[in-house]
């Protein structure tokens, strides 16, 4: 085991645990959001191991630093203290087993879709994953998607303002 693979499995375990906690075990919404933060940060760690430095930094800045803070802002603004999972139904135990089976099914199907054999991880070209090469390709090969993404953000801003405004003047 190299240091890299130890780190990878540590981050992978951490992200799985915190994602499971967010979805299944935490009643409290803020605690759920905080465990999702842990998932995001461990994913950023994995990105660094995969030599995707810029993506890792953007992941922390945007996901952990902005998107989840926005979630927390809304949770605190609405002052949601705890979240109930709904009334316990009589056949809750059966449902849990069925749910677990369905989850396992989805996981197996997904694994089947993914390619079984991939080439060995090779040596990387110079500057791979750095901000310079990605910046160049964003503004040469991918100019149109970048512009469209900018337009999408504008639309989202307008939409969010209209939704959140009590009444339009």
């Amino acid at each position: 085991m190299t240091v890299e693979s130890v780190l990878f499995y540590a981050f992978a375990g951490l992200s799985l645990l915190s994602a499971l906690a967010m979805v299944g075990f935490v009643r409290n919404v803020v605690a759920g959001a905080m465990s999702l933060v842990v998932t995001m940060i461990s994913l950023a760690g994995i990105y660094v191991l995969l030599e995707a430095h810029l993506v890792a930094v953007i992941q922390i800045m945007v996901y952990a630093g902005a998107i989840l803070v926005l979630f927390l802002f809304v949770i605190m603004l609405l002052n949601l203290r705890s979240d109930d999972f709904g009334p316990v139904r009589p056949w809750q135990g059966v449902l849990k087993v069925v749910g677990a089976a369905v989850a396992l099914g989805i996981f197996v199907v997904l694994l089947g879709v993914l390619p079984d054999t991939l080439p060995e991880v090779a040596e990387l070209p110079e500057g791979f994953g750095g901000f310079r090469v990605i910046g160049v390709s964003l503004f040469t090969d991918y100019v149109v998607p970048v512009e469209v993404a900018g337009f999408l953000l504008l639309a989202a801003i307008v939409g969010a303002v209209i939704l959140a405004k009590r009444s339009i003047d």
């Binding site: 409290n28 803020v30 605690a31 905080m34 933060v37 940060i41 430095h53 810029l54 930094v57 922390i60 800045m61 952990a64 630093g65 902005a66 803070v69 926005l70 927390l72 802002f73 949770i75 605190m76 603004l77 002052n79 750095g130 901000f131």
Partner: protein, 382 residues
């Protein structure tokens, strides 16, 4: 190699956490006392010796460590206990990429005085800075107190807003220096440029050679004056000290998000605030004030001038010490400047803080990026 990293880390930790943070509490008390015509901290004494109140930081630490650590009823215990640590960590790790000295050659060994010399140092700083929100958010939410909650809500809104403008306001700097690596930026700032050089570049005429002597250091503050002002404003807003202290606004929210904290956990919040002041000063120094560079005396000049007297090895060491001292002096000046602002200006209203960010700083920073790009195109630097 590992030993070198450990030593560098220990040095900067010792300076920032061990010396800067405690001394700053004292300086802040004395500074505020001076500005308000009071005497300031002078009571703590050991056998009658007060050292101008310098014993107060030590007394504070003893007091905080021996106080009861209270967790309020109804609070989320785990998050309440974790929050101060989460608030302190991003502040401390930020210093890993700030260079406090240049690159020195000792025989065949190269010594670079920065803990982690990474290519995307500036992005690393933004990433850790964006994680700094969580400490205050967790503290505010987990305390089960309305003042704390309001402090937390204000904190999130303020931090998200100012992060955007903070990022945009330094785009000009890394356009000018063409790098995100803080050590390279400091190296570039070790040089000087001709103040009237633009006349030649724009083809407005040739300069007589004697005007070449009118030079300015190649510092960010001279190349990006507007960027410096905007970055200073944004980063002070991120630090949540007055005049941007709305998350903790004493007169409205008791103490904001850390109302319910006591003992050393309160002390951690307090300390991380002071460490952040030091980090901000270090960052401003590295980006805009030339880092470790002595104005008008580049590294080669210094070593060249004193090498005949001391010999190469000793001259390099002298130069290194000079650079570190220069860096620390600049940081201290910036810390003092921040304290001056903190005690001079009253707190903004909340809508004023948001207006300043979204209606003034955001358009200005975009205009700054655009203007910088135009000038660089005209000069032919791009």
């Amino acid at each position: 190699m590992l030993l070198e990293v450990v030593l560098k880390t220990l040095f900067i930790l010792m300076i920032v956490v061990g010396v800067f943070a405690p001394i700053m509490t004292w300086v802040e008390r004395k500074q505020s006392a001076m500005m308000q015509d009071r005497i300031g901290a002078n009571r703590a004494d050991v056998a009658g010796i007060t050292l101008l109140g310098l014993l107060h930081p030590a007394a504070d630490v003893i007091k905080l460590l021996t106080k009861e650590d209270v967790v309020p009823r109804g609070a989320n215990r785990v998050m309440h206990l974790m929050a101060p640590v989460i608030a302190a960590v991003p502040a401390i790790v930020a210093f890993a990429v700030i260079p406090y000295g240049g690159v020195y050659q000792f025989g065949d060994h190269t010594l670079s005085l920065v803990v982690a010399d990474i290519d995307w140092g500036l992005l690393y700083l933004f990433a850790t800075g964006s994680l700094a929100t969580y400490g205050a958010v967790m503290a505010g939410w987990s305390s089960n107190n309305n003042w704390s909650l309001l402090g937390g809500v204000r904190n999130t809104a303020q931090m998200i807003s100012y992060e955007v403008t903070m990022g945009l306001s330094v785009v000009g700097i890394f356009m000018v220096f063409g790098t995100l690596k803080l050590t390279d930026m400091a190296l570039a700032q070790d040089q000087t440029f001709r103040l009237l050089g633009f006349i030649e570049v724009f083809g407005l005429g040739m300069l007589p050679p004697w005007l070449d002597w009118i030079r300015l250091p190649n510092w960010g503050i001279f190349l990006q004056p507007l960027g410096f002002l905007m970055f200073l404003t944004c980063i002070m807003a991120e630090n949540k000290r007055p005049p941007f202290d709305l998350p903790e606004a004493d007169s409205e929210l008791v103490a904001g998000y850390f109302t319910e904290y006591s003992g050393m956990r309160f002390g951690l919040f307090y300390m991380s605030e002071f460490i952040e002041v030091a980090v901000i000063s270090g960052l401003l120094t590295a980006l805009f004030l030339g880092g470790w560079a002595v104005p008008y005396l580049s590294q080669d000049t210094i070593i060249g001038a004193i090498a005949p007297i001391f010999g190469d090895g000793l001259a390099t060491i002298v130069c290194m010490v000079l650079h570190v001292v220069t860096f620390l002096v600049k940081v201290i000046v910036m810390v003092w400047f921040q304290m001056l602002i903190r005690w001079s200006l009253p707190r903004f209203r909340y809508d004023q803080v948001m207006d300043l960010c979204w209606k003034i700083l955001l358009p200005l920073s975009l205009a700054n990026v655009f203007a910088t790009a135009l000038v660089m195109l005209a000069v032919g630097a791009a």
